[in-house]
Amino acid sequence: MSSGAELTSQEYIVHHLANLKVGEGFMAVHLDSLGWSIFLGLVFLMIFRSVAKKATTGVPGKLQCAVEMVVGFVDDSVKSTFHGKNPLIAPLSLTIFVWVLLMNAMDWVPVDLLPHLIHWTTGMELGDIYMKPVPTADPNITFGLALGVFILIIYYSIKVKGVGGFIKELTTQPFGHWSLYPVNFLLETVTMLARPLSLALRLFGNLYAGELIFLLIATIGLFQLPIHFLWAAFHLLVIPLQAFIFMMLTIVYLSLAHEDH
């Protein structure tokens, strides 16, 4: 905490939790979240594309080995859960896993590092600098991902089962009697909507909480160093786990969408 003695802890935290925002209301865009998100997505694609371009079937280089390890891990996860044939699922899972992992990893960047770098390079006042570098701690980002997954769930449900089959699935279970169909529909709709909602909120909640604790630790002065280290070490678990859960649940939901009862 070095952003000025005039700030209280509460003001400091609120300031650090505010996004760099352009525009008003619904038309606003969080430049920091979206910028970092796209930047990290491009980092992922550039690294993997560079390997894909010169992928050799012979003895692989070290980078290719590392990339192949990730690809093999995702491929195994997909194959163990998704038993249909769909060329989209595996690349989708890979994108989600690595991208979310990278976005989560931004949690390790010390909370004051980026604002201070901007302060030193541009001379802007720290109070005017808004920079929240963890995209997955922004609900817009996690809901954006979850919405994409949700659209795919609906798309494949209708594609595999047909419109009639999809409606039938929403209305004829869990209760078999026709008079209970409206109840079924209500239950199934809630189930259906709970999937992307839980997907987005789980990721957002974990990373937002992690970010918040980092900010709290940053307000306690010199003793923050060992505590900060402990919390960062704990994120060795949280960061890959949340990325893996997001990927795994996406595979499971799409696998369910492909199942014809």
Binding site: V29, A55, A90, P135, L147
Partner: protein, 156 residues
Amino acid sequence: MDINMTLIGQLIAFVVFVIFCMKYVWPPIIGAIEERQATIADGLAASDRAAKDLELAQEKATAQLKEAKAEAASIVDAAKKHEAKIVEEAAGKAQAEKERILAAGHAEIETERNRAKEELRAQVAVLAVAGAEKILERSIDAAAHSDILDKLVAEL
């Protein structure tokens, strides 16, 4: 939580990234991995096959060596037999030759003896006549008594 256009931006980025990954990233990498897996599997199978082949070749070589040894032994055997036969034959021939030479010798000796006998016989007649002449002096006419002498010679 304020939801705004960031969500839409993220959704678009998500779609673009996934499509890019599906078209240009995933297929080459997974293709390389699977091809390498196939190559390794082939290599392992080939080494297995080579080991089996080697074992078979060794077995075959051993069998051939055994066969060759047996053949060599049989050839040596046959040669020994042949040799014995030749020696036997030579011995037989030598024996026959010896007998023939002996027989010829005997025959020659017999002829010689007969000839000597004949000569002896003729000389005995002459000697007998000469002796008789000496004993009788001129009392006996050789011509008048030649028939008796001839008889005597024939009796010898």
